[in-house]
Symmetry: C4
Subunit: 278 residues, 4 copies
């Protein structure tokens, strides 16, 4: 029947596209069959890419294996390009991107698709050019998406939720850190500038001292030498201890909230008297 022909065509397309969609998808849950194998290959290619990006900068390896690096880059880009195009084709299987044109456009401008795109486009402009090579590092970010399919997916989600729950507090503590940084660096500039005019040349230059002092890194390339500067430096270092306490405290309360919530759901208690939930 003609009436069913089109649905049949649609169903066939649907079947191939749907299978492919299910093979490519990286949502939470246990992997099986084609999806498992495809994702294992993807993790391997991304990991080898990370290794290639890192080792490519070692002069000894670069000279010796230049051909290999080039071939692997060619293979990677081909692989990622095909994967990218396939994802755009099958994305309409996802409820969020159902419309053939609008849905696909929205998918193309989603964060994960942009990362996928940035991972391949520099290749088409220039090969192994140092000035664009930096963008290839973005490929590394792809691996974060794959955590969710690993056996660590539960742990990853727990950390993700704890951080998301306390996002505002964490952002605020970073803002507070930046503010304290400006204030202590300004003070230190006026204290040390006259004695060490080259190192503490301006407030922005002093902020390099500020950030290494507050985070207790302390490289030793810049530090106060006047008694007042040392007093201020000591106060900043002690303040830095509190700086570590703040995000830790926030994150701990986030973790505990999540743990408690998870438990409450599975450990509901019922009144032994009337049977109603307590």
């Amino acid at each position: 029947m003609l009436a069913t022909e089109k649905p049949a065509y649609k169903t066939r397309t649907h079947t191939i596209r749907h299978r492919l969609y299910r093979a490519l998808e990286t949502s939470y849950g246990k992997r099986r069959g084609v999806n498992l194998y495809f994702n294992l290959i993807l993790v391997t290619v991304i990991s080898l890419n990370a290794l290639a990006i890192v080792l490519h900068t070692v002069p000894a390896y670069n000279l010796k294996y230049e051909k290999l690096f080039y071939d692997f880059e060619l293979f990677s880009v081909t692989f990622f390009t095909i994967e990218y195009l396939l994802r755009i084709w099958v994305c309409v299987e996802n409820e969020k991107y159902q419309h053939p044109v609008k849905g696909r456009l929205r998918y193309i401008f989603s964060t994960s698709a942009i990362i996928d795109f940035l991972a391949i486009f520099p290749f088409f402009f220039t090969l192994f050019a140092a000035d664009l090579a930096i963008i290839r590092i973005l490929r590394l970010f792809r691996i974060f998406r794959l955590f969710r399919i690993s056996r660590y997916s539960h742990a990853f989600r727990m950390i993700q939720h704890a951080v998301a729950d306390r996002k505002e507090e964490l952002v605020l503590s970073v803002v507070l850190i930046v503010f304290m940084l400006i204030i202590v660096s300004s003070l230190m500039y006026y204290v040390e500038h006259n004695v060490q005019p080259k190192l503490f040349s301006s407030i922005p230059a002093t902020m390099w001292w500020g950030v290494t002092a507050m985070t207790t890194v302390g490289y030793g390339d810049i530090y106060p030498i006047t008694p007042l500067g040392k007093l201020l430096g000591g106060l900043v270092a002690i303040m830095g201890v509190g700086l570590f306490a703040l995000p830790t405290g926030i994150l701990v309360s986030g973790f505990l909230d999540h743990v408690r919530t998870t438990k409450t759901a599975s450990q509901k208690r019922f009144c032994p008297h009337c049977g109603k939930e307590l």
Copy 2:
């Protein structure tokens, strides 16, 4: 009627002053209308001031944009002075400062008004003089007052309450840190003074080592070289780990208390049997 004339006058004054008061106030809660716009302008001016204070110390920018810096300073001080005078005028609208004279005097000596005053007065003595420029940094502190109107007001209050709840424990841990600092620096002075008389010249000088060692900053400008000094230095560094644990532990218990209290209030449980609160 003459009897209503004065109230009418009062009401008029009240209306203008009250409107202005509501436009300027920065207490917690959602902003709307004039108040929102005024506070946005205030945040912008203060932020640009911070930027100007920081960039003004960079010789390259200072030479190039000297006129701009001067004009912006003039504008800022005018803006802050008008704002300061208006705040003194309208402060009587606040229940705490109702009396026209006594209330205003009390307002002038409140912490926030003093910070506002310190932000403007250096200008009237000397312009861009390095010795008073340091006081202009106080303007940066003004920004903390504005956190409460942002979308982070909830997070800010949570951190504020957690810190306030554990204020005594936090002060005490700072006191303990200072005490341990005096003790370990005294010991280190007697251990290292003979070998490194220039660096470990006195106990106060050794305290610079002490604070960088306990807070694990470790600039590398001063460190023990004798075996006994290294042993003591190692113990101090390990003690420093505990030093981070103390305020973190205190702050975490503060955060959790606050979270728990907030929850208990909204999640009161009632006995399903008799309806009374459990």
Copy 3:
């Protein structure tokens, strides 16, 4: 009557000694009257002593105020000696040290009395001798006893209890740190010794690197330069992050336990049905 004369005498002695005991005691609780004033004087003398010990090592002050330092030392030792003798006299008022001889002997060998003794005895051997001056630092430890009379007594006890509750876990984590220190220093010695024989001269010498690396102090006087050494150094640094997490986690659980226990006592809940405790 002769029969009452002795009791009267005893009572009189008791009265003076008991009053003095109550004036000197530093157990927990609110201070009032003589006890408050005496303890304030004691805190002042101990604090000034700490200041004198610290400033005495600064050559400029030592030359200028030598007489003042000497006089203050003379006054301090006299003050502490009288206080020490009085404490021995009145200690029998305390239930723990009731026996005139055995009780007093036991008091003399109590930790706090030994600290009191060590604070004064060096003076009687030599005055301001550098080799014994170190013992004068012990006077600083006296101040810890005085925390309990301050307004921070509650906070001090809370920290004290949290630490005491988790003493075994904290001791164990220090032991684990020392073990890991021995292991990583031994490994690093075999890795770096051939390349940097002067710095990594032996395992004990390498432990100085180990402790500054694990505690993230990193002075920069000793660090690995071979690729394998840097790999090991990096692992040790990341391990050091966990090192901070362990005592912090232990202390936090200690704080929370204490908070929870305190609360449970005051927030007992009763069944609204039968009135019994829930």
Copy 4:
């Protein structure tokens, strides 16, 4: 009777072997009698071994006490070899290794037996050879097994359980750290390579900077000098603060879970109305 003869023989063997097994075993619980003394001797020998391994590398001691070191090494290896062989003989007393051949083979390839073997085998190849001496450090790992018999066994188990409960989250945070390390080191390489080509020679070389910056060690042998590099370095240092917060938060929630679980078991509450567990 012949029928009982074999059992009698078996029982006798069993008795000796069983006694020896009970003397050697190091499972949790209070030690008594032979087992206590044997384990004390074992702890002493292992501790002295650790000391010998450490001090043997100090040239001064090595020359002076060469004979002593050699004799103690000979004694240690003999002691450990006998202990190792005895453990293989008696292991069949353990339910897990009952079979005389298969059980023993499985025991030999258990983690603890492999550590025991590695502690002795280097001796039989070469004495005090530097290239194998490194394996002797493995003897130190033996001491971890002995924590469980000490008075800290409860604390050790608590830490062990808290870490085991959160193993996946802790592994994941190490993986996240390594990922961030690769990303920030790659970025820093492209930023600083042109200005400091010797220090930031390749991405692997830059990772040494990355790990000392993220963990706030900061030796000061390598650090950015360009403004962009300093900006990135500052962000990495602040990110490092979060790095400490993550495992701490995970471990704290692990500790609290364990504490809560332990408590719930012993603090079950019962409904005063009907007697059933609440």
